[in-house]
Symmetry: C2
Subunit: 206 residues, 2 copies
């Protein structure tokens, strides 16, 4: 994940240091939260010199994005649960359990906030986190269309727009429930939310 300039000569970068730094970053997020996390502290936790961090990441923002992105890689998947309703409910609970973690809870919105003034950071978040989530929407929709639960979009651009809309609705609602309302996304909430979304998808134009 760090910037790897693909060098062919000289001493290679320690992959163990990469792992130690990212682990230390997550641990520091849990203990200190985004606001009080410092580069020096992460370096000390990782047993690594501060300069080693700066050789790989430009700063706190980029480091934290990569640290939490790894969690998304590990815990996001979309097994076929047999119906659109079950698929949506499953992904909602899965995403929620990621957001319940103290690391992601404190870090995700913080880096998004920073990304409003940093295009490179926005791209990094997009490719490391957002696009992975969005692919689940595409998979789920394709399955639902195969099952006949949803109509196929005739227009290609309309299909993309719908996917974006569904993604913002699902991810946005879970994030808002967890971080702003600060209420748990339990199975009851997931059921009610899924009923709303699936009802809206199957009721109007697909």
């Amino acid at each position: 994940m760090p910037s790897t300039p693909l060098r062919r000569t000289g001493r290679p970068r320690s992959t163990e240091a990469d792992r130690a730094i990212l682990d230390a970053t997550r641990a520091a997020l849990v203990e200190l939260g985004w606001g009080k996390l410092t580069m020096g502290d992460v370096a000390a936790r990782a047993g690594v010199a501060k300069t080693t961090l700066y050789r790989r990441w430009a700063g706190k923002n980029e480091l934290v994005v990569d640290a939490v992105a790894a969690l998304f890689d590990e815990h996001l998947e979309l097994p076929d649960r047999g119906s659109l309703r079950a698929d949506v409910e499953g992904v909602v609970l899965q995403f929620a359990s990621l957001l319940e973690r103290p690391e992601t809870k404190t870090a995700l919105m913080a880096v998004v906030a920073e990304s409003t003034r940093d295009d490179a950071l926005r791209d990094r978040i997009r490719s490391a986190i957002v696009d992975r989530q969005k692919s689940l929407v595409l998979i789920g929709r394709a399955r639902a269309q195969t099952r006949g639960e949803l109509p196929r979009e005739p227009d290609e651009t309309q299909a993309a727009r719908n996917a974006d809309l569904i993604f913002d609705v699902i991810a946005g609602a879970v994030v808002h429930r967890t971080l702003v309302s600060a209420e748990p996304v339990d199975e009851e909430w997931a059921r009610g939310f899924t009923a709303l979304v699936v009802g809206g998808l199957t009721a109007g134009a697909g």
Copy 2:
């Protein structure tokens, strides 16, 4: 908005300083963004000593919450547009235009992120911003029920749950669209989103 201990004697706090500080905070948010905003800079912009800021606000978090909350106070309202669909679409566009501002864009998610580790800050955000938004949901639902567009909930707790759900869906989707996907909430998007939500509300159980 600042902490006003209701003193009856001594020199009163300058209300003009309050206004200057909040104005300076918003200006600094526009120019510098949340991450680079500093208390000293705000004080200098406001033409006020740094100690004056700290007499009113505990720190950057609280100051920024009050500064952006004032924007919500000014720009959030829900005129009766004649139908549930029109009301939802109207509030979506209104909330979106607030989030398009650079001040709110950079500040809102940042303070929410901080609030995950600060209960007092969470309460402040809730009372200053979130509750005001949520009241729009209650108003809109009451109107829709009067019009006969939505059934009345028999259960009181169920009614509250539904309102919370709708609020998280609407606010969450708009925030996610604006900040994470970084795409504009234009009338086309608002139409599609409103169709989804209203369809879901009227299709399943109200």
